[in-house]
Symmetry: C2
Subunit: 78 residues, 2 copies
Amino acid sequence: QARAPKGRCFCADKGVNMVPPKLIEKVEIIPPSPSCENQEIVVTLKNGTEQKCLNPESKFTQKYIMRALKKRSAFKLD
Amino acid sequence: QARAPKGRCFCADKGVNMVPPKLIEKVEIIPPSPSCENQEIVVTLKNGTEQKCLNPESKFTQKYIMRALKKRSAFKLD
């Protein structure tokens, strides 16, 4: 059931296992699409416009993203 | 300990609780920074360039992002 990567994917491989959190400007989750059959996670770094693929299966990625979900915002609108 | 939102945040409020997954082009996780003290999750939709803030605490957001972490890529480079 493994799906083959296609030509228009951003990531050529699994990507790095970690980047220093302080350097992260944003993390993008890009779902599979007609132009790329892989789920991709791309991190943009603060130093310029450098973008790296982040390994979705690495411990760092999992922890970083899970933490993002847990951080409560300051808004209380409910 | 709640941190107040600042002027340069992208999101003016908590954001929507869900968007149709098929419309999602990408999901951005933007960590707190000097210009915005909130953790923000911004979804870009396929129909044009529309961007919406996604409530980090909604069930939809949590499920969508957790699933992204579980999807294995087709690459086996280890």
